[in-house]
């Protein structure tokens, strides 16, 4: 039972929170995990410890 409730909550969380938030971020071109390739960039290295 508990696991069914958890699954429903997770599905709601995914579609009503994660998905819209992700879409808004994409709308503003915010790449949270630096996912996209940038052919014009010179380097992809990032400083450690941040």
């Amino acid at each position: 039972m508990a696991s069914i409730i958890l699954r429903i909550l997770l599905a709601v969380l995914f579609y009503l929170l994660v998905t819209p938030c992700g879409m808004v971020l994409r709308l503003f071109k915010i790449d949270v995990i630096e996912k996209n390739c940038k052919p014009a960039a010179e380097s992809y290295w990032r400083a450690s410890g941040k």
Binding site: S3, L6, R7, L10, A11, F14, Y15, V18, T19, C21, G22, M23, L25, D31, V32, I33, E34, K35, N36, C37, K38, P39, A41, E42, S43, Y44, W45, R46, A47, S48, G49
Partner: protein, 607 residues
Amino acid sequence: MKILGISAFYHDSAAALIIDGNIIAAAQEERFTRIKHDKNFPLAAIAYCLQAAGLTIENIDIVIFYELPEKKFQRLLKTYLSFAPRGYTSFMKAMPLWLTEKLYQKQFIVKQLTSFGKFRAERLQFTEHHLSHAASAFFPSPFEQASILVMDGVGEFATTTIAEGKGNKITLTKQLNFPHSLGMLYAAFTYYLGFKINSGEYKVMGLAPYGRPIYADLIFKHLVDLKADGSFRLDQHYFNYCTGLTMTNKHFDALFGGPPRQAEALLTQKEFDIAASIQAVTEEIVLTITRAMAKTDNTGNLCLAGGVALNCVANGKILKDGTFKNIWIQPAAGDAGSALGAALVAYHIQQQQPRIISEQVDAMHGSYLGPAFSQAECGMRLRQAGAVFSVLDDQALIAQTADALATEKVVGWFQGRMEFGPRALGNRSILADPRSPEMQKNLNLKVKFRESFRPFAPSILAEDVTDWFDLDCASPYMLLVAPIKDDLKIPMSDAENALFGIDKLNVPRSTIPSVTHIDYSARVQTVHQETNPRYHQLLTAFKQRTGCPILVNTSFNVRGEPIVHTPEEAFICFMTTDMDVLVVGNCLLHKYQQTVAITDKPTFAPD
């Protein structure tokens, strides 16, 4: 100060114990539980480490876990955020596990440790995944200063990290983050070629020489954006590992003209060519990184760890490239080794204890860090298993074993402490004569029960390595591939060259054909008097009889089985394969003298 390092929950769980900076014991959980790449909390490995030092958990000052679970969770959430609405299935699979278990890893670990005795939670520390790897690569190395390169699948965020090591300090300088990962890229191709990820990578590397790298340009054009400084990103359009339950997707299939190969399906030239291509791409990425690193390096020394550092072909290329004078690779370069790395982080970095550089080859004690069995124990255990054997003194034992090897007998060789890391280095090994042209096929099919294309590695007396291979440094952990000397090569005729794929294998291409891969290379292990005197003696005795200071060395197991840990496991493996002779400590067994029948033959999941 007594420190226990632990790695767990992903693959290859392990534990390592250091006392005042000295590496005392280390082992992978799989060897005890007999589950290959066991990822469960390493209770048995911890029990072994404690027992090896005669300690209880109360005596341990610090226990340290190799990565930061919360940070890993953050990465997961960010990834879902970045891909949603894609990723629902993966989200629903991963989240319940995180919310009910993985986020409470600290409590879980404390509870597990309490099963050994009284353990206070404040003695449990955590450190970063790539810092653990970097520490395992640098602190045991023979270098006062070095550049460090860590490459693997992923830890928390980092997939590729460049660091500098000096004395007892490590400074992480720059990194690439998930999902851009050389480990993931190689794993994606491993998956596409029909092998299991996290273990089938060796097979891809072994297949590569049978093919031509005709897809390398395609990979660079579509999948990998490599910059001149070695940094890169992977075009996620072709991959599925961020959000799905597979590694690659339909766009990837379209690019390579078909779906992934089914496991165990026939291997064709296409698979060989793809393997050759991803290997070539890997080498180019790694070399671009190390060349860029060399520009700012003033030490001449390079330390490697992380799963990609197990790609011994790429390692050989770095060495040959000459941008770094010396290279040292952590033998347990995968996640098992980060248990040791984490312990070293606690000692040198967190506790700021000085580092004493070993006067031996390095501080790993040859990686012989696992359990050993006394002669009395070996004899007793073998007797109980029903074995028929004679007990010989050292001299007779070495002589008779060398005689057997020189007459092309396949010998199981079980001695001293078990190796830490994926390779058998002459203590849990199956040995054979490398001069025999039939040996590779026989060993693969009749002893190891695995695919006939898989190459075998040579062990060679460290003193003789330059006479046989183009290698002028130590390679004690079988992590460097080097070409065979030109004068030992047998050139192939045009007809032989035209042979297809695996048929090429049957043409001997050197005077030591069973360890010569089809590109005239070999994955060399140099055997040193200081770290393994007994194996060194055996090689010396074999050389006296044959003029050849080399033996075929393959791990003591069958396909899918973890390397044997106990004399009984060695005996069962011996009895259920075509091995001729077994040597356990000073006990010598001939197959034809055995009287017991092994009825309950163990079975192992396919690798």
